[in-house]
Symmetry: C2
Subunit: 242 residues, 2 copies
């Protein structure tokens, strides 16, 4: 990586979405980056610029990171690439592979969270698949939410450092923080009921929130608020008691 390296992130500018996992890593590391969609149109920004870039790209979908002449798509692949460069994962192969597989499991979890409000098709509105969403949300809250969170809690319990990796803070903790923030927005009641069973994840969430660069980012206009177009959506009717 040269001194002139600059990261360019191509992701939609109206939602946190999958791009937020990348933004958090770049922000936590204090990396210099351009969030293309959030630049003014006059400077080549806007979500239209992302759509244009995607047409010429070899990626299936955003987020796409451009770095050192490489174009990298898929959130977990971007974080695997960035992790070692930003000091957000140890350099040894065992640590990198372990971190990556946790991140891929977080990706699986995030997709299940998304599909709880979109079980039929991403091209349909929530309102057009609400009966199916209601039916899907019940086993999600009852079975999948405790299963995933219980798994991550057990990983943290192996370490004294309130981190998913034994080596300390890493990019997977940032992603875990984002998932917990999102669940608190989308499923506040279910998360509150589960909280006593996941004290270490709750501690991890507060530890990450207190990191100076993360705290500054969350307080800045760069952090897009949660909204009803993203992965995490607050539909109270889906936040059911198990």
């Amino acid at each position: 990586m040269t001194a002139s390296t600059q990261f360019k992130l191509y992701y939609w500018g109206e939602i946190q979405g999958r791009g937020e996992f990348v933004r958090l890593a770049l922000e936590d590391a204090g990396a210099e980056y351009v969030d293309v969609a959030r630049l003014p149109k006059a400077q080549g920004g806007g979500s239209g610029a992302v759509a244009e870039f995607l047409k010429k790209s070899t990626a299936f979908a955003p987020p796409i990171l451009v770095a050192d002449g490489l174009e990298i798509a898929q959130t977990a692949a971007i974080l695997e690439y960035l992790g070692a460069r930003l000091g957000l994962v140890p350099a040894d192969e065992a640590s990198r592979v372990f971190a990556h597989q946790i991140e891929l499991t977080i990706s699986d979890f995030v997709l299940e969270i998304h599909d709880s409000h979109h079980p039929i098709a991403g091209s349909l509105y929530y309102e057009d698949q609400k009966p199916e969403a209601l039916r899907r949300a019940a086993p999600f809250v009852k079975e999948r939410l405790p299963k995933f969170l219980g798994y991550f809690e057990r990983l943290v319990a192996r370490n004294p450092s309130v981190t998913l990796l034994s080596s300390g803070h890493s990019y997977v903790d940032l992603s875990m923080f984002q998932v917990l923030e999102g669940l608190d927005y989308a499923f506040p009641k279910a998360l509150a009921r589960l909280a006593p069973k996941i004290p270490l994840l709750c501690a991890l969430r507060e530890r990450v929130r207190a990191r100076p660069r993360i705290a500054a980012y969350l307080a800045s206009p760069r952090r897009i608020p949660f909204n009803q177009q993203g992965i995490f959506r607050n539909y109270p009717e889906l936040d059911v008691a198990p």
Copy 2:
């Protein structure tokens, strides 16, 4: 990697499932490996042995590969690790990253294929979510199937070698072969209708099938037949005309 390296695959023995993507890479490379679930119980095999191993593991779910003292979960992460070691991807970072992001997009596609018959919950039988599956399959066949296959077709069209990577045959071609085989089992009518639009993927499929070690594997009892418990299931009512 030492001369004593042996790969151990932990995956369910009754289905191809996600483990099949790993099996195809090991078979194509002629690698020495143990498919634990398919060993006799007296030799420590069976799916019970996989369940026992999972309890002690740091993985969320199978497939899990044990190699060189590492335990690696998540299909795409396993293939990224194996690819370079088995000569199934060029060693340079750009090629590895590009191959990995294609594999991750294949993983996303595979999950959508699976969820076409299980849109509500993995813990319910198909028969208990059939109305929702019927509703989900229609936009899947009409929108998602052509979108994903069209994307992969465009990637192959960039290369003269009927491969997804410009450098030639790689593990992502093996995974693409498996997806096409599975789609032909699960959605034969939809795939036949799309075939004229994806001639290069059809050629890739036949190219992979003709590789001597793959041909030998497909003809062997090691290849588990497609069945109604796996990712790809033949429910004719879901194979609808768009």
